[in-house]
Symmetry: C2
Subunit: 229 residues, 2 copies
Amino acid sequence: MKGMVYGVGVGPGDPEDMTLKAVRLIRDNEVIALPGKEPKETVAYRIAVQAVPELADKMLMALDIPMLKDFDKLAVYHREACDRLEAILDSGRHVVYLTLGDPTLYCSFSYLQHILEEDGYEVKLVNGVSSVFAAAARLGEPLAEWGESVHILPQTYKKAVSLDQNGTCVLMKSCKYMDTVKAMLRESGRRVTAVENCGMPNEKVYRSLEEIPDDAGYYTLIIAKEARS
Amino acid sequence: MKGMVYGVGVGPGDPEDMTLKAVRLIRDNEVIALPGKEPKETVAYRIAVQAVPELADKMLMALDIPMLKDFDKLAVYHREACDRLEAILDSGRHVVYLTLGDPTLYCSFSYLQHILEEDGYEVKLVNGVSSVFAAAARLGEPLAEWGESVHILPQTYKKAVSLDQNGTCVLMKSCKYMDTVKAMLRESGRRVTAVENCGMPNEKVYRSLEEIPDDAGYYTLIIAKEARS
């Protein structure tokens, strides 16, 4: 019988954000896949090993998938990663694939999941705390109350996202276009807070738009709330 | 010294979705607050006690806050709940307030948090898995990939939410207006899936709009994705 792939979120950084199910799956399985070059240097490993020290003695597979915009080149890396995963699955062993945050939101595992399922393998997703909620908790403020909407807006192209929304806007991956994004936020009149590297040792909290540096990093998450009258 | 209130999410239903931090805070503290009438009959208790059996022997406080639309009447219940919490905090003990899902999204604890902070007490939010992500994981599908936006839209009034958005729409609290919502979804041409009571023993998964019953309950979460060309 073929093994199963578990796409498991380890949360954004604090090992205590890991769920009991994530801990159990790591303990109960021998093969752990990690996104990156060197298994023990991946962010997911460094988070998880603090909560589950046994991880250090598992069979660790690093799947190196670079962030490319050329989808044809990217497809070669995905295929290669799936070939390696499928060799394990064909031997009847399960694979626990660890990923930052939650595996259902902007997760590089999603690409592999599509291929694996098409190839006839079974995939299960196991939630972790998403950085969207972790940032709100870190700021100590609800993301949304009662009838307020939440809009999670990734800024992945030069084209600006629209802040013309009711409720709370969460801006992710804005780092490359921070000057444009900040100008847009200023114009919107929204109340802005942000967390960089939420849950990591180098975490930074910004309580206003002005505090966010123009060179804030990739893991900067901006929460822009409607100004209250 | 005054105690601290921890607003702790226990996830949507599966006790294994609880985080290590939630488990530790329950173990380490004596006073646990729960939203509802009878402490041991609250949903949060029934989830958490499966992961942390010691919970049964804690000092349990049920805070009964009914779902009222009259904000003046509601304010009386909030004030009373905060008075009870503050009496504990003034004695130097911490309180762990357990809540379904994540404490930053549509959480009744948020109202208490505002009052407690205004009264000079310290509040910390501790994430749980949100039903938004839990439903996506249960369906085995990413909520969003790469540049896709996610719009979390609570249907709390008769006025219909707008599906005129790019990316994925997540509709919550639609049960009262299910016929209107279903008509709107049909017109949108979106690909619709839903989970009712995600993670609970009475969980139901719907793979199409047609499968969702008109009398689906309060904890029904609809995911409406843009149709792919």
